[in-house]
């Protein structure tokens, strides 16, 4: 075990996969000098500028070229800088990458990873803060990964790179500096994740809190507070949204009888709706309280902190919601 940041863990994952497989390469703006957050720092020195490739400010072509390069047998890792800029490349991702294998009757695969840093972070405002994971979960052909810890950023990124499907890989900008233990390279376990498996981060009998990405940490903090108030929350980190781990979620809710989904993104038509609707469809009779979602209001993200804060789901909100849910049964 080594302690490292979420950012370093992602870099380690990429470096390890590039060492393992010469067909893995990364491309994006400014990568040669480390990328906008330093996630690629030093990699060009080891792998050269062909494999840690700069790109013009051409998001469509970065994504579209990755599709072509993936169909030709390489494994591109595409850096979009901010997930918001991936909106300049949606045709390439949704109409091309996601559909090519199917449309062409299985003649090809598009093994690419699109890294799309998401989330609210330091007054970045409306065009640099979005979390649109729900969009990609809706698109057949795409895999959606949303790591919340350093260990997962290594294990999931490695899995994403090895995956033969196009993967939308959403790191949360506010987690870059988060430190945590990461298994050693020769540990043999925990190094490469299985995509589609949630993790129960904390067990509890009273309420299931399902979350992903940075919101997991608020959920965990809230679970801590709740425990002090006599309420045991089970915290499930989905880790991947497509596929999402229905079994783990259902098992937990079957036990607790209560589901609270906690997401940073806009609640309306967010992925939490899928989880809540699925649980309501499947476990209606087992529910001790109605399913519930917490997420951002349907407003753009502001620059000024007091306004930006209005879209955040806080520990207090989670605690309050869980308590209300427990009170229903009481």
């Amino acid at each position: 075990m080594a302690v490292m940041t979420y950012l370093e863990a992602g870099k380690l994952a990429l470096a390890e996969e590039m060492r393992r497989d010469p067909l893995v390469w990364a491309v994006g703006e400014d990568l040669g000098r480390g990328g906008v957050f330093g996630q690629y720092k030093g990699l060009a020195e080891e792998f050269g500028h062909d494999r840690i490739s700069d790109a013009p400010i051409s998001e469509s072509c970065i994504m579209g070229a990755a599709v072509g390069a993936a169909m030709m047998g390489t494994r591109p890792v595409v850096e979009m800088r901010f997930s918001d800029f991936a909106l300049c490349a949606v045709d390439e991702l949704v109409n091309q990458a996601a559909k090519a294998r199917y449309m062409f009757g299985g003649q090809t695969r598009v093994p690419l990873v699109v890294r799309e840093p998401i989330g609210i972070w330091r007054s970045s405002a409306a065009q640099h803060s979005q979390s649109l994971e729900a969009w990609y979960a809706h698109i057949p052909g795409l895999v959606v990964v949303v790591p919340s810890t350093p260990a997962d950023n290594r294990a999931l990124l490695k899995a994403a790179i090895r995956c033969d499907d196009p993967v939308v890989y959403m790191e949360h900008k506010n987690l870059w500096g988060l430190e945590g233990e990461v298994p050693d390279s020769d540990a043999g376990v925990g190094e490469v994740a299985e995509l589609g498996k949630a993790r129960v981060l904390r067990e509890g009998a009273d309420v299931t809190i399902v979350s992903w990405s940075a919101a997991v940490h608020s959920a965990l903090a809230a679970a801590g507070s709740l425990a002090g108030r006599g309420l045991e929350a089970e915290v499930v980190d989905l880790r991947t949204l497509w596929p999402w781990d229905r079994e783990t979620v259902m098992a937990s809710v079957r036990k607790t009888g209560r589901l609270l989904v906690v997401q940073e993104s806009v609640s309306v038509a967010g992925f939490g709706a899928e989880v809540a609707a699925s649980v309501a469809e499947t476990l209606h009779a087992a529910l001790k309280a109605p399913v519930r979602r917490l997420g951002a209001p349907r407003i753009p993200i502001s620059y000024a902190p007091p306004l930006e804060d209005r879209v955040r789901v806080t520990e207090e909100m989670i605690v309050a919601a869980a308590q209300e849910m427990a009170a229903v049964a009481a």
């Binding site: 013009p56 051409s58 070229a65 072509g68 030709m72 390489t74 009757g105 052909g141």
Partner: protein, 335 residues
């Protein structure tokens, strides 16, 4: 070369152009069969015939190896055949039948034959330009000597990927030939009316890609220019070719093209690339009967494809769930 009075051509590579003639005939008859089948509702979705543009497909693709790559458009039957795909699985795909190249999942606009390096038609105008740049990028990364040819229309030059993909090819010095089939129209609109500046070649040059222009209805010009350009491309430099041509039929098989005067179309039929080539070969001494035989053989081949496709079953319904993705495969019930 619509006139019949050329001096006898002496140094024409007869073998070569007989083969091109044959290829153009095959393309023509494939599409005529497809149009007839569309009328009979055997072809299901929209098809975009390339009738009148066959010399571009035949002229360019005749210079490619099997391992070379092409990317095509919504108007891609010609490119696909010329790259070596078989008419029967193509026709089956148009009919949505079992054994179609895409198992009936794609149709005309998504036809592909990866086994001959045909990496797909595309339903989104200009989207193939970036994909083609990426394919060439992969060839360079892997150190191969294949080339990529990317076909698109004159309407595609107004979409962003034109700029992004050409710039990309220039920056990374990729082995790619961009072929702009300038047929004067984008759907019902005369492309010129919606295009500022001097056109595709000027744009390419401004993006650092040397451009050549040819008469796209003259298979010899297309062939010779493409051959030369592809030599350069194979050495790792991108090139651009504009082929001026004309779409003799409607935008789709159900478009009567009433937005253009009949005389214009009539006149353009006099410049049919297949007839141009026939005249050339005849002038070079190839017996007319030999050419007629090639022509008829092509017609028969495509008629047979039509009949055989018609006799084929639908694909198995279970295929609807296949080949979506490995992780999160919908067949595993996770939806």
């Amino acid at each position: 070369m619509p006139s019949g009075e050329e001096p006898p051509v002496t140094n024409l590579d007869i073998e070569r152009y007989r083969e091109r003639f044959r290829q153009m005939c095959r393309i023509r008859f494939f599409e005529e069969e497809a149009i007839a089948a569309a009328r009979d509702k055997l072809v299901l979705g929209a098809i975009h015939p390339s009738i009148g543009q066959e010399a571009v497909a035949a002229g360019v693709c005749g210079n490619l190896r099997r391992s070379d790559i092409i990317l095509s458009t919504h108007r891609g039957h010609g490119h696909t055949l010329a790259k070596g795909a078989e008419p029967l699985p193509m026709m089956r795909e148009l009919f949505g039948r079992d054994g179609g190249y895409c198992q009936g999942k794609g149709g005309s606009m998504h036809i592909a034959d990866f086994s001959v390096g045909m990496l797909g038609a595309n339903g989104v105008v200009a989207a193939n330009i970036n994909i083609a740049a990426g394919a060439a990028h992969a060839i360079k990364l892997k150190g191969g000597d294949e080339v990529v040819v990317c076909f698109f229309g004159d309407g595609a030059i107004n979409r962003g990927p034109f700029l992004e993909g050409l710039n990309w090819a220039g920056v990374f010095k990729l082995p790619i030939l961009f072929v702009c089939e300038d047929n004067g129209f984008a759907a019902t609109t005369r492309t010129k009316a919606m295009t500022a500046g001097a056109g595709p070649a000027a744009r390419a040059e401004a993006l650092g890609i040397p451009a050549s222009e040819v008469d796209g209805n003259d298979v010899v010009s297309v062939d010779e220019t493409a051959r030369e350009l592809l030599d350069t491309v194979r050495r790792g430099e991108p090139r651009f070719l504009v082929a001026r041509t004309y779409r003799l039929t409607g935008h789709t098989s159900s478009d009567a093209a009433a937005y253009r005067p009949e005389e214009e179309v009539k006149e353009r039929w006099l410049n049919d690339p297949i007839e141009n080539c026939r005249r050339l070969l005849e002038a070079a001494g190839v017996p007319a009967a030999e050419l007629t035989a090639l022509h008829e053989a092509a017609a028969a081949e495509m008629k047979e494809a039509h009949e055989a496709a018609k006799a084929t079953d639908w694909p198995a319904e279970a295929l609807a769930y296949a080949d979506v993705q490995d992780v999160g495969d919908p067949r595993k019930g996770a939806f």
